[in-house]
Amino acid sequence: MKRLSGLLVLAFALAGVAIAQSGLLINGAGATFPYPIYSKWFDEYHKSSGAQINYQSVGSGAGIKQVTEGTVDFGASDGPMNDEQLKAYRTKNGTGILHFPTVLGAAVPTYNVPGVTGSLNFTPEALAGIFLGRISKWNDPAIANANKGVNLPANDIVVIHRSDGSGTTYIWTDYLSKVSADWKEKVSKGTSVNWPVGLGGKGNEGVTGLIKQTPNSIGYVELIYAAQNKVPFGTVKNSAGTFVKADLASVSEAASGASKTMPEDFRVSITNAPGKNAYPISSFTWLLIPEKFKDAAKRDAMKNFVKWAITDGQGDAEALSYAKLPKEVVDKELKALSKVQ
């Protein structure tokens, strides 16, 4: 018995050494939204370089928290870290943290109005009014004027939002804050907010489920979720005045429209971005990478990964319904990568 357990211990020790030798292990945690493409990227990168990257999709907030506390090597978030969080990171770790956009996502308005089968058009004023509770009927002129020829009923609107903290809510409320001063003042933006009206559904599937079941309802879901599950959604009027339906091209265009004013640290919101066909409720998702690594091998592997992901790795994006980074942003990121030391 004793000999057997001794052997087992030895076997485990050897296995541990074997794992450690076969490649580097990097740990990350954060956003759930980019998880499908991240796991594909990590898998491909593992095959080509041998470095293994573990990623826990625990949510943007938890990702920021874990990377700040140093329990993981890098984080990932759907919303950029705010100044307070950056300061907290610096005090705790004695160094800064950098944001690297990887792919793009968008939030789309989806609805269930009896008698309406086609796609509805939404102006920013209509969306803000509906979610503030000011526009309470489907046949309100703010909605009807953008949808000439559609027979909208005189029914009460039921607003449905996400109940769980979410990057999608962040994008949605960030957009509403930009287009409505009232929204900015009364509700503002965040992964969870104090909603003036409406019911909460858990996750994209919870929101979609509630909308399907509730006549006269409107809500928002991630573009990827809507595309993969064939959830019908409406168009949104962008800053150029065009009604744009969200798709990979219009989301990418929002990113290139915003790239001219892209700050050095990439912490930028691209909602309501300029560009004739830019979809206005779009956003980057970011990797959060410390400026300084203690372990040089880890640093090099991490830098190589980011470099690969934003160049060759972008080829995987569209098959998984993520919009690709525009070239201007990639070039800028490649330059910024040298800041990681």
Partner: protein
Amino acid sequence: MATSSINVPSAGPAEASRSFLSRLRDGDEIARLVTFIFAASVVLLTALLIYELWIASPLPRQKFGLAFFVTKLWDPVADQYGALAFVYGTVATSTVALLIAVPLGIGAAIFLAELAPQKLSDPLQFFIDLLAAVPSVIYGVLGVFIVIPLMRSVIAPVLKTTLGFLPPFQGPAYGVGVLTAGIVLAIMVIPYIISVSREVLLSVPRDQREAALALGSTRWEATWKVVVPFARTGIMGSIFLALARALGETMAVTMVIGNTPTISSSLFAPGYSIAAVIANEFTEATGDLYLQALIQLGLVLFLLTFILNGLARLLMLLTASRGGGTGRA
């Protein structure tokens, strides 16, 4: 003795019987100690839980103090947190659940234990035990696809026409809401009440029944006036179990309650429970105050469970002394 010494290999027969006796004596001590540690660990674990929740949430205590319990604003953007709406949602849904589940559950248990023939009672009990083991997310799905549409098209309109003069049954019914969550919770806790109550009723000594019947009572009188009062403590225990499950249920509730921190006089209105908000917002909670407010909500749920259980126990003591008296008379 001979068979037990076989179980002691490696020792001689004479020594074995002696060491067996002494080990038995020692074993008593060991068993006492070990079981004491097990029992004490439960108390320790509870204390540790409260302690951990307490030390992990100093910020909201400093900032809001007792106001945390009496304000209902929950605004993560402005960093303002109050627990009242969640406390209301938790208590209201659990109350609705128990109001529905207790009479149904105890009635079913009486039928299964006292009235139904064994041929019917045993297979039924099997299904009830099966129901108790169904994961809560399944009940949530049941709620979403069956109870919500039913609530909107049948239950709410019927309640409005019959009881619509009462405030709890007024206002728009979206399908999701406090009443829906209460109904789904009731469905979830009924198997617990039936299972435990039936066991307790079955364990009532036969002579109690026979004595009542011998005194000329009908079968129902014997059941209702003798057997049920005798089993009262155990039945109450099943209700505690149901209450505990209802208070802490997360997944099924969040799927049907509407997740809106409001307090409304209407049971059709959406609400929010403590467990549901913690599950929903914990992963994306950024900022220390936000996170700690959620942890403090956990502490509030803990206290709420204590208080409600204490009240229920008090109620039991009060009714038990009364009921026991009439039972014996």
